[in-house]
Symmetry: C3
Subunit: 390 residues, 3 copies
C-alpha cells in the first residue's frame, strides 16, 4: 500500500504533460495569427501594464483640511467708514474646509420682536379682511396698516428690505484677501501620510509666496481674486450676488517612485452658477444666507440681521495613489494569457473553416475516437489493437 | 548570420502552432461537457457582462452640497409671542451639508458669572464639609447654600434647569419649513460634472414644486415634515428630543447612456435613535447641544443659554458611475477563458477516471515518451528510430 | 436541411475535444514543472484566496458622525475667576465631526471701530509721510501717532496685542474634558448599517466607561488628555499654541462572519505640527483662529475679540467591508488558470530548449505539416495519403 502511494507520488513528480501541437507551415495563417498574438501582447504590455499601470494596486486617501484667511476689508457707506477683519467676514471662523467669505451684505439694524407692516409690494391690502390671520409663511396679525397699505405681521421689526443688492459690492477689497490651505492626506493601504507643505515649502517660502499655476504651483497661499479668475468667474459679479467655488487638491501619486514626487495639484472651478452652464445657472444663481447678531439694549432683546452675499469656498481633496502589487500584476498576466487563448481560438477558426486545405488541417489537428473501425491501420487503430491484446 | 535571423523570423511568422486534440464521440461525456461549457458561457455573458456590467469601469464622485432652509416658526410661551426665522433656528447659518434645525429649546436668560447654589437634587449637602472644593465636574466654592441645601458653585448663574423638556415641542411649526438642496458632483475619471438641477428642473419649476417620492422625485425642495415621515420618525417625538436624519443623494449613473439619464435619487433614513433599532436607540436617544448668546448689560458680561433640541440633517452623497472600458472588458473575457480551462479540466477528469473506457481514452490522449522500448512499432517508436538514424 | 442542423447539433453535443498530450517521463523536467505548478497553486490558494481574500468584493461606507464634549474649564486671570462650559469652548457648538476645543486665548475686550495707533514694532514712523495712506493690509489714516511713534490706522480699537501667548495655557483643565462620539456607517453595496454603539455598549456602560486602547477599546467616551497623549503630543504644548488631531474610526469588516464582529477601531494621530515630522512641523506649527462677540453698549457697536488657540479634532471615518462574491472568486480562479498556462509555457521552454534530449521532445510534441513529403510512413504522411485517396 505504502509502496503504491510512493509510486503514484514519483509518477506525479517525475512525469510532466505538455500538449501536442501541429506546426502549420502556412504563410497566410502564420502571419494573421502572429499579428493577432502580437496585438494581444502589445495590448497587455503597452496598454495594461505601461499606460494603465495594471501592475499596481490603487488607494484613495482620508484627508484633513484647515484653512486660514488673511486680509482686511474696508467699507464706506455714506461716510460711515468701517474695516472688516477675518473675525467679521469668514463663516464659520474656525478654519473649516468649507467656508464663506462675505463680499456684500444687506444689513438691518436694531430689529426687535414686534408688529409692523410688511414691505411695500408684499401682502398688499385695502381692509383688515385681506390679511388672513395665521398663514404659515408670515405670522399675520389680521390688521391692514393704513400708511403702507400692507398687512401687519408679527416679526423682527423693522422688516428686512433686500430688494436692492448693493452694486458695486461693498467689500470689493475681498479681491486681495489671501487664503492659506493646510492639507494632510493619509493613504491607509500604503501607510503613507503626506502634507501639502511638501519638501521645499518651508516657513520662509510660505512667508513670501503667492500661488500661481505657472510660477508657484506648490505655494499654498492663494489670492481670492486669483481663485475667482481661475475658476472662470468675474470678481465683481460673484462678489455682488455670491457664488460657490471648488478648490480641488489633487493627489495623484505613484509610490513606486520616491515619495517626494507625490505633490498636490490645485485646480479651481465654479460649483453652482457656473458661467459655462448657462441654462442650469439661471435656475439658481448666487449664494447668500442670513445671519443675526443678537444683543440686549435697555433690557430689550434686539438683533442686527445680515443678509450675507459671499464666495463659498469648498476645498475638495481628490486622491489616487498607486503602488506595485503582486496580485493585480498576476491577475493582469493571467487574464492576458486568457486573451491569448482567445487569439488561438480565432486562428483555429480561420485554419479549420476558411482555408482551402481546411480538411487536411482538420485531420492533422483532430484524432477521432471512432475512426479506428474504418482505418485499422491508422494510429488510433493501432493503439486499439494494442489494447485488445492486453 | 543575417540570413539565419531572416530564416528564424520567417519561420516564426509563417509557422503557427495549434494544439492537437482528440475528438471523443461519447454521448455522456459530450453532453456533460457541453453543459458545463454552456454554463460557463452563460455565467460570463449573462452575469458578468449583462447583469454586473463587467465591461465597465467604475468611479465615485467628489461632491459639493449647499442647503437653504425657508419658513418661519412661531412660539407663544405664556403670552410672549415670538417668530423665529432662518437666522434664528438653523445652525450653522451658512448652508452647510450638515446642519441642525431647532425644534425645541430650554432657554436660561440673563446668566452672569458668579456663585449660586446648584439645582435641587444635584450635589445635596447639609454642611459646608459636604461640598469638597475643586472637583473638576463643577467648580465648587466649598459652601453649602442654606436655602436649597445644595452646594454653591462658581458658574454662569442662575444655573440651567433642563429637567423638563417642553412638551409639546415649542416649534412644532418646523414641520412646514422647506429645505432646498443644491448638489453638484464631479466624476474625475470620466470628466463629467452634474448638478441635481437636472434637465427640466428650471427656476420656474423650483418655484412651485415640492419633493414627493412618487410625483416629484427630482424636485430639490423638501418639506421638513415629509423628510421626518419618510425616514420613519414621528415628527412630534423627534421635534421634542431631537434626532438625526440622513438624506442620501444617490447618483448611480451609466455613462454609456445619454448624460440626461444620470439623475439623483433621494432617500431618507434615521441616523441615530432610529425607531427600528430599539436596543441601540435606547443607548443614546435624542440630539441636543448648548449654545450661548453673549451680551453686555451695564458693563457686565451676560449670556442667554439655549439648550437646543433639533433635527440634525446630514446630506450624504453616494455615487457610482460606470462607463465602457476596454480593460475590464478584456480582463473579464480573459478570466472567462481561464474558467473555460477549468471546465475542460473537469471534463478530462470525468473522461480519464470515471468512464468505463477510460484506459482507451487515456491512450488516445497521452503519448508516453518511454513506451517506445516496449512497442517498437508505435508512433513514438518510429520517431525515435528516425532520430537514431540521424 | 432540418436533418443537417439536427446532425450538427448532435455532433456538437455528443462530441468533446480534449487536447492530446505528451507524457514526458523525465526526472528533472518533472520536478521543476511540478514545483512551478505547486508554487502557482500555493500563490492562488494561499495568497489570493486566504491572505488577500480574493473571493470577496469590497465596499466603503458612507458615514455620519456626531460629537458631544463634556466638562468644565476654570480660569483665574489676576483674581478674575471664570468657568467655561461647552457653549463657551467648543466651536462650532452643534456637535460636528470636526470641531475645536479652546485651550488658550488672547482676549481684547471692548473693541470699537475707530482710529488708533498700531502696536509698537509694527509700522514704525517718525513723520506722517511714513504712513502711506490706503495700503490693503491695514487701513492707514496717514497720521503718525506721536506717543507710540507708529502709524495710526482705522480699525477695531484698541488693536489686538497677540505678541505674548499665555504660558501655561489658561485652560489646562481641558485635559479632563470628555468627548462622546456617535458614528453610524452604511455600506450601500451590502445594505448593512452599523453604529459604533455596538452590542454590549448600552446606556449604562456608556454612563461609566472611559476609552482605553487596552481595557475599553469600544467605549465611545474619550478623555481629551488621553487623545492628545495617544496621538504623540504633549498636552501643555498643544494646549498653549494649538494643534490638530485626527481620530480615525476604522471599520474593517468581514461580512462573511457574523455582523457582531464588525466593530470600530479608534486610532489617534497628529494632523499638522506632528512632533515626528520635525522639518515640516516647523513650517507651520499651532492652530488658532479669531472669533468675535459683538454687542451694543450705549448705542455703540462693540466687540470682544478672542484669538483662540485650541485642539482641533477631526473624526475621520475609514471603512472597508468585504463579503463573498461569485465574480471576484471566478475572476481569481480564471486568472489563476491563466498563470498556470504561463507555468506550462516556462516548462515547455525548458523541455524544448535546455534539455539534452530536446530534439526528441520536439518531435514528440510537434507534428509538422510539411514533413510528410520526406517521411511517407510517418503518421502525417498516412493521413495525407488518406486525404489523397478521397
Amino acid at each position: 500500500m505504502k509502496n503504491k502511494i510512493a509510486n503514484a507520488l514519483s509518477d506525479f513528480f517525475y512525469e510532466y504533460e505538455t500538449p501536442r501541437q501541429v506546426l502549420v507551415r502556412n504563410r497566410r495563417v502564420g502571419v494573421v495569427c502572429r499579428l493577432i498574438q502580437l496585438g494581444v501582447l502589445v495590448y497587455i504590455i503597452g496598454w495594461v501594464f505601461i499606460y494603465e499601470k495594471g501592475y499596481q494596486s490603487t488607494d484613495t486617501a482620508v484627508s484633513s483640511v484647515f484653512t486660514k484667511m488673511k486680509g482686511q476689508g474696508y467699507t464706506n457707506v455714506s461716510g460711515n467708514e468701517k474695516v472688516w477683519d477675518v473675525a467679521d467676514y469668514v463663516f464659520p471662523p474656525q478654519g473649516d474646509s468649507s467656508f464663506v467669505v462675505m463680499t456684500n451684505y444687506i444689513v438691518t439694524e436694531g430689529q426687535r420682536m414686534g408688529r409692523c407692516p410688511e414691505l411695500k409690494g408684499k401682502h398688499n391690502c385695502s381692509t383688515d379682511a385681506d390679511c388672513e390671520e395665521g398663514s404659515f409663511k408670515r405670522q399675520m396679525t389680521g390688521v391692514c396698516a393704513n400708511r403702507t397699505k400692507t398687512c401687519e405681521v408679527l416679526a423682527w421689526c423693522p422688516v428686512e428690505d433686500d430688494h436692492n443688492i448693493p452694486d458695486p459690492p461693498l467689500l470689493m477689497s475681498a479681491e486681495n484677501y489671501t487664503l492659506f490651505i493646510k492639507n494632510s492626506v493619509t493613504f491607509p493601504l500604503f501607510d503613507v501620510t503626506r502634507s501639502n507643505l511638501v519638501e521645499g515649502i518651508n516657513s520662509s517660502y510660505i512667508g513670501k509666496c503667492l500661488h500661481d499655476p505657472e510660477d508657484a504651483p506648490l505655494c499654498p497661499i492663494f489670492r481670492l481674486g486669483d481663485i475667482v479668475k481661475l475658476s472662470g468667474f468675474n470678481f465683481e459679479t460673484i462678489a455682488r450676488v455670491g457664488g460657490a467655488i471648488g478648490i480641488v487638491v489633487d493627489w495623484t501619486c505613484n509610490f513606486d517612485l520616491h515619495l517626494k514626487h507625490c505633490k498636490p495639484k490645485y485646480t479651481f472651478h465654479g460649483l453652482y452658477g457656473n458661467p459655462a452652464e448657462t441654462d442650469k445657472a439661471k435656475a439658481s444663481v448666487g449664494y447668500n444666507f442670513r445671519y443675526a447678531r443678537h444683543y440686549m439694549e435697555n433690557s430689550v432683546q434686539k438683533r442686527t440681521l445680515y443678509k450675507v452675499f459671499g464666495i463659498r469656498v469648498d476645498i475638495i481633496v481628490q486622491s489616487l495613489a498607486r503602488k506595485f502589487d503582486i496580485i493585480p500584476t498576476l491577475t493582469a498576466i493571467g487574464s492576458g494569457v486568457g486573451i491569448f487563448g482567445v487569439a488561438t481560438v480565432v486562428c483555429d477558426l480561420v485554419l479549420l473553416y476558411l482555408l482551402p486545405k481546411r480538411e487536411f488541417y482538420k485531420h492533422m489537428k483532430f484524432k477521432n475516437t471512432n475512426t479506428y473501425a474504418k482505418d485499422p491501420d491508422s494510429e488510433a487503430g493501432s493503439i486499439e489493437t494494442e489494447l485488445s491484446k492486453k
